[in-house]
């Protein structure tokens, strides 16, 4: 999906406007990336999990992935 945004927070916000329920599954109620989620920008792991300020270049690819655990 193509969305606008200069950093990860903006990119996610643009996506969440199309899927409001997804926000609470990726971010917690303080807007931080959930513990077992990870984000990669062009293959580089997100550094700022709290404020999501990592820059996203034009045509950059943002992957949102989850860890799996439990039993």
């Amino acid at each position: 999906m193509d969305v606008e945004g200069a950093h990860v927070g903006e990119v996610l916000d643009a996506y969440f406007r199309t899927n409001t329920r997804a926000r609470g599954y990726v971010l917690d109620d303080q807007g931080r990336l959930r513990e077992h989620m990870s984000i990669f920008i062009n293959g580089e792991q997100l550094r700022d999990r709290t404020r999501l300020t990592d820059p996203v270049p034009p045509d950059g690819m943002v992957d949102v992935i989850q860890a799996l655990s439990g039993g």
Partner: protein, 374 residues
Amino acid sequence: MRRATTCHVGTRKGLFTIARGASGWSVSRVSFLGDNCTLAVCDPRNGSLLATLNHGHFGVKLHRSRDSGATWAEIGAPAYPPMPEGYVPKMTFSGKPIDWTLRLIWALAPGGSDRPGVLWCGTMPGGLFKSEDDGNSWALNRSLWDDPLREQWTGGGAEYPGLHSICVNPGDSDDIVIGVSTGGAWKTRDGGKSWRIGGKGMRAEYMPPELQYEPNAQDAHLVVQCAAAPDALWVQHHNGIFRSTDRAGSWSEIADVHPSAFGFAVAVHPRDPKTAWFVPAVKDEKRYPANGRVVVNRTHDGGKTFETLTKGLPQEHAYDLVYRHALDIDDSGEVLAFGSTTGSLWVSENGGDSWQTVSLNLPPIHAVRFERAG
């Protein structure tokens, strides 16, 4: 009073509804199969069923059914307001800061028959939320959250403090008692505008001497009220069983309880404040039924004496532990159900005199709640 014929069982792998048929109780429906359903509550005012899911990675979610679980819709989950800039949270026992975010929904209670749409929700870490629109949106109760004593709450067995009990007085919806692990019992008389901690009497013998009777240091595992006599409260506490007859103004310890005064769950008769049930376990760090025998303790005299009920329950090599929300009693006072971490589920239709096994193979059980009519 009509006997319950339906019960909802929240488990590690879904919400199981059991129903009373001609031949007894059996599973009639499974919702959210595979998901961690930590609590289910029926709202007798409108028949709504609320279920909380803890997805772990994806957080805590709340779902509502208007048709007894046939269909569900996700509704708003409580959200903590933004943490103030520069706020320094208290550390847990293990040295981690107490997080300012929703970790677990640990209590859900309708807000009273004269308050349609009002719901209360207790959370971990230590939050009380109120909804005025049947759970679609929630607001943190700031008078409790901002109380300096709230900051002193700590985790009991869990890492963070948790608000697990909400007792709304059936005769006065502004009169609410809550229970916290670890933070004792608190009360409001004005619908949550102001709060004060309950009186003395609970005792935590494992605490330093100067804190053993400190009301805010008490690890109440569950607080329940008698519906017909709400001044009568029972607490299953980490350190034993306590009772109040003045709505948390003071507490008295119930002594000489065998095989153990430790446990998590307690149920009180809806009309007889002196009758209550407990599921004892070996304390403290072991936590299994004494001698591998699953028993229910019942008192009819306010805790002076107990009967240990065993008929229909496993009495050999049984290691079922019963969590705080996994014992319930219906409005008739005759039908009880409890479920265990082993996935065993039992129902009694005669006040605990005898029990029938519904299943020994469910996923680990978090919560057992009867469906209630308005």
